[in-house]
């Protein structure tokens, strides 16, 4: 019995239990938010302090990579739940939101701990289904359209991944990561190469990398604000990018996929940044920025070296922090000013000083300005690219940072700086439910950057030891 509740199992079973209990007719609906907040804090706490060693059901394991991801999942879920409390006015909708976030956490926590191709698919599907409903939660036409596009793309991606699983089963007779990788090392061509190609294409669709990014801006933009935080911060990063990192790390595909990943990453970085430059909608711009940042992670992964993987995971963590922060800022702005159209906003820094400052910190971190967190992860990525003999891609990564800075500064000028627009005089700073996550994420962004000498040895490098 004691073994049944070890840490990996707790991370799956506790949120599931919370959802079941608050939905029983016991009058406990009010407890949904508390359950979500306590569980996400508990998850962060255990990930920071406990050495993860145990094995749960279905061979669930926590290693360095899972630990970073579990920490990010806890953080983003915490932020998203608080933001939902502050911005979703309808009580029923809010209750559904908490339940769906908890279910998405079940999926994501499982996803980062599994060691088997088919369980990976099951947990990806749990996460995706929860996010489809989150996007469509308000039942407005925009949300429904975003959710339907995501659903179709995701279903096609799933079909491709499952075909790959079937082909790997045919070639090796196994589905666990370790055994498939072992069989793949023994040699093999034709079938396994096809399987690797299908799998990578499916995961790139899920991650929203160019050229499969069509659904992503629509889904992020149309979702309720609090759901955008969860989606942009962590959902697509775990379902797509993390799975890619894990499979590459376990040597499932060999090195044959490296050129594809390098190209997809570089194109995503540039195309995402260029598209972000032309946006009027705050959240749509953030979505394109997300595509661009996912490009960095994929590019880093494409090097195929240990340092590249460290850079990818570190950037994934930083991205979860600063992109959630930017989405929280967008939430605060829309909640108070009533619009996301950047051409109708202006001068909000005077009325919302905390949000304006947090936005500056987040954008500088995204663009990679020292000493903020984003600078260090981009540095690792660029060094990894240069060392593995890809100076051209390294140059693309450096130059695209300028584009990032350009579109974010344009956003900052149009939304927060300059003269206050007419009609916005009555805007007040966002409420505490939005400010607490804003401050927490700002502190983490600055803290990780400033404390990097300590972080690098204790937090970043151990990710390499799998």
């Amino acid at each position: 019995m004691k073994e049944a509740m070890n840490l990996p199992n707790q991370l799956i079973l506790l949120p599931l239990l919370a959802v079941v209990v608050v939905n029983l007719p016991l009058g406990l609906r009010w407890a949904a938010m508390l359950g979500g907040v306590f569980f996400s804090i508990y998850q962060m706490w255990t990930m920071v302090f406990l050495p993860p060693l145990e094995t749960g059901f279905f061979d669930l394991q926590i290693d360095g990579l899972s630990r970073v991801l579990l920490l990010s999942i806890g953080l983003v879920a915490f932020v998203s739940i608080l933001a939902a409390r502050g911005t979703i006015r309808d009580k029923r909708e809010r209750f559904y939101f908490y339940n769906l976030v908890l279910l998405a956490m079940v999926g994501m926590n499982g996803l980062v701990m599994v060691r088997d191709l088919f369980s990976l698919y099951v947990f990806i599907e749990i996460t995706s289904v929860a996010s489809f409903i989150l996007i469509a939660l308000r039942r407005e036409l925009d949300g429904l359209e975003g959710a339907f596009k995501y659903l179709i793309m995701s279903a096609v991606a799933t079909a491709m991944m499952l075909s790959a699983v079937a082909l790997l089963l045919l070639a090796t007779g196994e589905t666990s990561f370790a055994k498939v990788a072992e069989q793949m090392r023994l040699g093999g061509s034709g079938l396994p190469v096809l399987a690797a190609g299908l799998f990578v294409a499916g995961l790139l669709i899920k991650a929203g990398s160019v050229p499969f990014h069509g659904w992503l801006p629509d889904a992020y933009m149309a979702a309720p604000n609090a759901a955008s935080i969860l989606l942009g911060g962590i959902v697509t990063k775990t379902t797509g990018v993390y799975a890619l990192i894990r499979l590459m790390q376990d040597g499932m595909f060999g090195t044959g996929m490296s050129p594809v990943l390098l190209l997809a990453g570089a194109v995503s970085i540039v195309a995402g940044a260029l598209a972000a430059l032309g946006q009027r909608d705050f959240k749509r711009m953030l979505a394109y920025s997300s595509i661009s940042q996912v490009g960095y992670i994929v590019l880093s992964l494409g090097t195929g070296t240990a340092l590249g993987v460290v850079g990818a995971v570190f950037h994934l963590f930083n991205h979860a922090v600063f992109k959630s922060l930017l989405f929280v800022n967008a939430t605060a702005v829309e909640d108070r000013a009533g619009t996301r159209d950047m051409n109708q906003l202006g001068g909000l820094a005077a009325r919302m000083p905390v949000t304006g400052f947090a936005s500056v910190v987040a954008l500088l971190s995204t663009a990679g300005v020292p000493p903020l967190a984003g600078f260090w992860s981009k540095l690792v990525i660029i060094v990894a690219l240069y060392k593995s003999g890809h100076p051209v891609y390294a140059a693309v990564a450096v130059l695209a940072s300028l584009l990032t800075l350009a579109y974010f500064l344009s956003m900052q000028r149009r939304v927060f700086f300059g003269k206050l627009r007419e009609g916005l005089e009555g805007v007040k700073e966002a409420g505490w439910y939005v400010l607490v996550p804003t401050l927490a994420l700002t502190l983490i962004t600055m803290g990780v950057g400033v404390l990097i000498p300590w972080m690098f040895g204790s937090f970043v490098l151990p990710m390499e030891k799998f």
Binding site: E125, A136, L141, I152, V156, A159, L169
Partner: protein, 106 residues
């Protein structure tokens, strides 16, 4: 890799790819929501066939059956959510035409 194995791979492969292509064509070309969902189903059926065939050919029938049943259950969940979205769209738009769902751009 015995004789039966190599002769059956193209056989199963052909039908799996056929189902896959029909499903994909249906998803991409249909203008009706319900047809898109049916296309998704056909697509997934191709994959299910592939998994079962892989299990049969490698002698891991039990594993493949488990995978196929789990797959069917999850697919039903996805299609149920999709049908929910389609019903909500129909209530707003009074039409099942996919091309009317083109508001988000940029």
């Amino acid at each position: 890799m015995n004789g039966e194995f190599s002769s059956l791979v193209p056989f199963f492969g052909f039908f799996a790819i056929l189902l896959f292509v029909i499903g994909l064509y249906c998803v991409v070309m249909s203008r009706n929501f319900i047809r898109v969902l049916i296309g998704l189903e056909i697509l997934t059926k191709g994959v299910t066939l592939l998994i079962i065939a892989a299990g049969y050919l490698t002698g891991k029938v039990a594993l493949a059956q488990t995978l196929a049943i789990t797959l069917i259950v999850l697919e039903v969940v996805v299609v149920a959510v999709a049908a929910g979205i389609v019903i909500a769209v129909y209530r707003r738009n009074n039409s099942l035409d996919v091309t009317q769902l083109r508001k988000l751009k940029g």
